[in-house]
């Protein structure tokens, strides 16, 4: 029997049981759509995380007290100005070192107020991290050394307090102390659910006075090139450990951050993929089941076809094609549904979704494979039917 003829017969058989065929397909539709959607969401999230981490700048090293671990509480810093000087000595350039002292504070302008992260920083921040200004200027070394009460606002802080007015030259009150706004950051957007535009930068010295402390929370160092990052990290941690023998310090790179996030996303994706896989499996079992019913229902037809000269292979191929047609049609509908849902999610929610051609190809391939794997047993059963017995069946 020619293959085209076998396709026609298979299509005919599916059309004859329209509702049953559609219900059987549903399992495949859901499974394949799940694969496409989950891969799209996983890829989208991964892309975004990567873009954000890389968007911080290149060759970065973050130095924090304590151990960097998912289940460890952040350690309270005992680092201070002298540690900063030591780090600058090791790095060899003040321009490559950024520092932060962070505190959540209420910022007020006139009647409006906002709760933001206030960061005490050095003037070097834009040289270490990628941060562009929308308007005005960043802090200067003089601002830092003289402890001036000047502030650079994040985009959403500026909009919250001043609306569309230009905040540069205006006054804000932070923890009861007046500051003059000298610049506003360009918007960065969300990063892992945190609004990165909701922060205010002030000179480190000013922040220390405001918070009545001498400490700094963390350092960020920009290495001259990728090759020196690890050695630089080791040197800094060693020096800090020498200065604070009873404390631990960690130096993490962007790659390590990405790796850690990748691990989390990987586990998440694996769990979701397993759910999608189970759904495909259930769909496949449904196809197998329906094909067995179909073979039983059409036993007499099989007997007739055999009497007229159909070989076991002809019958087997006919039923296998029917199973494959079921799963691939379901697969195509699932792909369409998956693409639709992915696009809708990306458009209507902050969750990113990135469609990839390989996930669509994979989904289609898997639906073909499910048809073959779960169609083989019923097809073999049909092919092996004894024509005498089959013809006698009512």
């Amino acid at each position: 029997m020619r293959l085209a003829e076998a396709w026609r017969v298979a299509l005919d058989a599916l059309r004859a049981n329209r509702l049953r065929s559609m219900l059987t397909m549903l399992g495949m539709v859901i499974g394949v759509a799940a694969v496409v959607i989950l891969v799209a969401l996983g890829t989208g999230t991964k892309n975004e995380v990567q873009a954000q981490v890389e968007g911080l700048g290149s060759n970065l090293l973050i130095v924090v007290p304590g151990q960097v671990s998912l289940n460890a509480a952040p350690a309270v810093s005992r680092l201070d100005q002298s540690d900063l000087d030591a780090v600058i000595r090791i790095v060899g350039s003040r321009d490559r070192v950024a520092v932060s002292l962070t505190s959540g504070e209420s910022v007020r302008a006139g009647q409006r107020s906002a709760f933001t992260s206030v960061l005490g920083v050095l003037e070097t921040t834009p040289k270490v991290f990628l941060r562009d200004l929308r308007t005005g200027a960043y802090l200067t070394r003089t601002d830092v050394e003289t402890g001036r009460r000047v502030a650079v606002l994040g985009d959403s802080v500026a909009r919250g307090l001043f609306g569309e007015r230009d905040p540069v030259g205006q006054q804000v009150t932070i923890a009861g102390v007046r500051f003059r706004v000298i610049g506003v950051f360009a918007p960065l957007g969300q990063s892992l659910g945190v609004d990165r535009d909701n922060e205010v930068h002030v000179p480190l010295t000013t922040a220390q006075r405001l918070l009545a402390t001498k400490r700094v929370d963390a350092f960020a160092v920009k290495a001259p090139d990728a090759a020196t990052i690890d050695r630089l990290g080791d040197d800094i941690v060693a020096e800090l450990s020498r200065r604070h023998p009873d404390e631990q310090f960690s130096a993490v790179t962007q790659e390590q951050i990405l790796g850690a996030l990748g691990d989390i996303l990987g586990v998440l994706t694996a769990v979701l993929a397993a759910i999608a896989g189970i759904s495909l499996l259930v769909g496949g079992v449904g196809v197998s089941n329906i094909m067995l019913v179909s073979v039983r229902e059409r036993t007499r037809e099989i007997g007739l076809r055999k009497a007229l000269g159909a070989r076991p292979r002809d019958i087997g191929v006919q039923f296998l094609l029917e199973a494959v047609l079921l799963t691939t049609t379901g697969g195509l509908l699932g792909i369409a549904l998956g693409i639709g849902v992915s696009l809708a999610v990306a458009a209507l929610s902050p969750v990113p979704a990135a469609l990839t051609w390989w996930s669509v190809a994979l989904a289609f391939g898997v639906s073909c494979a499910v048809g073959i794997v779960f169609g083989v047993a019923p097809a073999q059963r049909a092919g092996r039917l004894d024509p005498v017995v089959a013809l006698r069946t009512d």
């Binding site: 029997m1 020619r2 003829e5 005919d12 004859a16 007499r300 037809e301 007739l304 076809r305 055999k306 009497a307 007229l308 000269g309 159909a310 070989r311 076991p312 292979r313 002809d314 004894d386 024509p387 005498v388 013809l391």
Partner: protein, 276 residues
């Protein structure tokens, strides 16, 4: 094609049912020549259906030799048996066995699908054969739009579209009223005479059997009589049932219109009147 269309020598068939072996045929020797018109009669349980399955290549004997179209079926695979059936045998069943959702034309063309013919050629041959059985005007009708007699004629066209050497009909009139049944039998007789296709009828109806030129009677898995036992004596006959009631070998009765060159080379040539 030389030699008989079907030759069975000492054929037995035993089934295993729940561990018990049941013998349906005990050793049957018979020959169906080209162009013959044979009726196999016997009560139910006599083994005539089993014999028909064997003659039609649907089953293989447990013992004895069986040659269909000159080919020994022993050791043939299921695929080879399928090919043999497609090439040599046409089947007509009591219950018609037409595909319900398929037009008369495509039903008739079905055996040609397994011969690997293209759609155009299949349809042309099927249309010619439908015309020949007098259903040229019903080609696109589905089985449920046709009477029983018409359905059986479609089934006959399907059996003959492959130009087989033998047409095996299992109670072809069993589901038809007597007038329609008679018409179907007449059609089979005409095709036998005009095209030279051997017709083997299996029936329990003595009247139907009486219309055939040769009657084979079966009981309890053996042939008890054969009105035209092959003329040639076989000295090397295996020790099987030359049944007690066997008549002496009759002289060849001379079958009119018999063609030894093979049945129906030009399906369009004959029975043109019936097609219109």
């Amino acid at each position: 094609m030389t030699g008989p269309a079907i030759e069975a020598i000492g054929v037995a068939r035993t089934y295993a049912m729940d561990g018990v072996s049941v013998t349906a045929l005990r050793g049957v020797t018979l020959t169906i020549g080209h162009g013959e018109h044979v009726a196999i009669v016997g009560p139910s349980g006599s083994g005539k259906s089993t014999l028909m399955h064997l003659l039609g290549g649907l089953d293989q004997p447990s013992e004895g030799a069986l040659r269909i179209g000159g080919r020994d079926v022993a050791g043939l695979t299921a695929a080879e048996m399928a090919h043999l059936r497609n090439a040599t045998i046409g089947f007509v069943f009591q219950a018609f066995h037409l595909l319900a959702r398929t037009s008369a034309l495509d039903n008739v063309a079905l055996p040609l699908v397994y011969r690997g013919l293209g759609a155009r050629e299949r349809r042309a041959k099927a249309a010619a054969m439908l015309a020949k059985v007098g259903l040229g005007h019903r080609m696109d009708h589905k089985p449920n739009q046709m009477s029983g007699g018409e359905q059986q004629r479609v089934a006959i066209a399907r059996a003959l579209v492959t130009e087989p050497a033998v047409l095996l009909a299992d109670e072809p009139t069993g589901n038809l009223d007597s007038a329609t049944g008679a018409a179907v039998l007449e059609l089979l007789e005409r095709l036998n005479l005009d095209d030279g296709v051997a017709v083997v009828l299996v029936t329990h109806d003595r009247e139907v059997a009486a219309r055939a030129r040769r009657q084979i009677t079966m009981r309890d898995g053996v042939v008890v009589s054969d009105s035209a036992a092959p003329k040639a004596a076989r000295p090397d006959d295996p020790p099987v049932s030359r049944a007690a009631g066997d008549p002496p070998p009759a002289p060849d009765r001379g079958i009119p219109h018999q063609r030894t060159s093979g049945p129906g080379e030009h399906p369009g040539d004959d029975g043109g009147e019936a097609g219109r």
